[in-house]
Symmetry: C2
Subunit: 331 residues, 2 copies
């Protein structure tokens, strides 16, 4: 392990793929045992009675180098026998039933993780405990913590009548994201349960020497974490130590619907739009080289702005980005 | 479909493998739409949050010719990737946790059935409805009905201190049957919930022209059905139309622990022992040719006794046994 900084504790607010790749880079340059990822669980869902935590699993599988690099989720060398077999039941499902959902794929090997999570939950273990056990099974040394042990569920409100429903209807995040491939317009986002949920690691967050907002969707990945009572207050109070990495590059998200969603919700789909969303809670924004011309505008919003390569196409870039991120915090 | 008899409705009280093979033979000689299997669900369990009904699935898979013929349970051409992957979690499971049970195998394709059952249950569908949907998915024409829509759970009481626990302790049927491979001595059987559970098809049972007690374990397969309020009363009242097939051949069960269990519980492990268990509810007992010398003793117990080949090693024998069974009921 290369320990390239003298920082003790680093806390990373994390979504799925982008955050996972950042954490993988961070593992190269910072003591993994002094790194905590506080991970979005607003995407969590229950399918076939199984408790599924997509962002947690993406982070753990990525750090364990078990992730499928093409898909960005699930395990490499995966098979899909259970899902293929499930198709048999689509035709016998009564009208109105959502059993045998053919739109949500779970790989045969990946199923074991959901089995374990579900079984432990039924034994009364909380999400933090279960997540730490799963991380240990995958030999992940960084501390992976769900944002809360309570249920918080992200819902999106449809902007107009579409295949997913009528304007004003709310659908679950996984329906939006997976079933409709985030192709339907939304006009509002809700985090059900966020007001009463108790955030995890809030004391550690306030004591962290560096707080990183990973390059994740600001609305539906970082949004649920920020919606938890007390998180934004801690970030504001420690703003000098908070550095964010823009998930928007050249106006677009590398993956997922962040760009469309920002526009639909009245924000600007650009690194500048990200600066405006984060300026109250972060003192520094790291943007990609292709967005260098936005640096001045971002600094006028009151953030320091660092321009570098943020496209984590390989581990080397991810490590460099992580080092730049740690170095950016004035100590 | 060959309809070889003029009987309309046949009701079969069924456990797993033996009953399934009998039903497969019955399908050759009797209108499948006029056949109802009332199937034991005392073996049902929940693993990884999934609702599992072993006997129901064995019956459906067998009738669909999808069963693995060597194992007698589960699907042919099965893979075990999910279970292999689950082993990773055995080492991180805390003391006392029974998550990631390495003793209960679920095949990748078979999982789809448990997913569907679990999802439909969470939608509020009852066991009868779910079972009929699963049977339809497998193109099974016989009517397959769980013995009750309520939860009835079979427990066995340990006869002596052993690897499974101390004498007098109760363990679940699946622990007894699968985890300890029915190698531990038992001294009592309990069907939790049987007293208050409402049996399915009790009216159809009383109207059936032929009632068959399949060659299943009399204690833990037929026992739970008989434990339901009203079932034995209907059988007694219709005893002339009830024919049982002995699951004990030459003193032994072809499969499973019926022989040991009979002895441990103070019965005789023989076709005569079966006669004594069933004589109040059945007028006819069909026994295997190897047990021909027990015919007189069985008839002295007040049962008609038919001697034939009951080892359903192939479909032809199963069909012949089914025909003999139907013919045995005096009409």
């Amino acid at each position: 392990m290369v320990v390239g900084s003298k920082i003790n504790s680093v806390m990373v607010l994390a979504g799925g793929v982008g955050a996972a790749r950042f954490l993988r880079g961070l593992a190269l340059v910072h003591d993994q045992r002094a790194t905590t990822a506080l991970v979005n669980t607003g995407d969590d869902t229950v399918l076939h009675g199984l408790n599924i935590s997509p962002d947690i699993d993406t982070v753990i599988y990525t750090l364990s180098e078990a992730i499928d690099p093409q898909r960005g989720w699930g395990l490499s060398n995966e098979t899909w026998r259970a899902m293929e077999s499930l198709k048999r039941y689509v035709d016998v499902r009564p009208t109105g039933s959502i059993a045998a959902p053919e739109w949500f794929n779970l790989g045969d090997q990946d199923l074991a993780t959901h089995f374990y999570r579900t079984a432990r939950k039924s034994e009364g273990a909380d999400a933090s405990q279960i997540t730490s056990e799963i991380a240990r099974a995958w030999k992940v040394a960084q501390r992976i913590v769900p944002m809360t042990n309570n249920v918080v569920a992200t819902f999106v409100e449809l902007a107009q009548d579409c295949q997913a429903g009528k304007a004003g209807e709310q659908i679950s995040f996984q329906e939006y994201f997976v079933k409709y491939q985030h192709s339907v317009a939304v006009r509002a986002i809700y985090f059900q349960g966020a007001e009463t949920a108790k955030p995890n690691c809030i004391d550690e967050l306030s004591r962290a020497e560096v707080i990183v907002i990973a390059p994740s969707n600001p609305i539906v990945s970082i949004g649920p974490i920020r919606a938890l009572t007390g998180i934004d207050e801690v970030l504001v109070a420690n703003r000098e130590r908070v550095v964010a990495i823009s998930p928007i590059i050249g106006g677009h998200a590398l993956k997922g619907p962040a760009d469309r969603m920002l526009t639909e919700l009245g924000h600007e789909s650009s690194a500048l739009g990200i600066a405006r969303l984060y300026k109250s809670i972060a003192s520094t924004l790291i943007i990609d080289s292709v967005d260098a011309d936005l640096k001045d505008a971002i600094e006028r919003e009151g953030l320091r702005c660092i321009v570098t390569n943020t496209v984590m196409s390989d581990l080397k870039v991810a490590g460099q980005l992580a080092q730049t991120t740690l170095d950016s915090v004035v100590r």
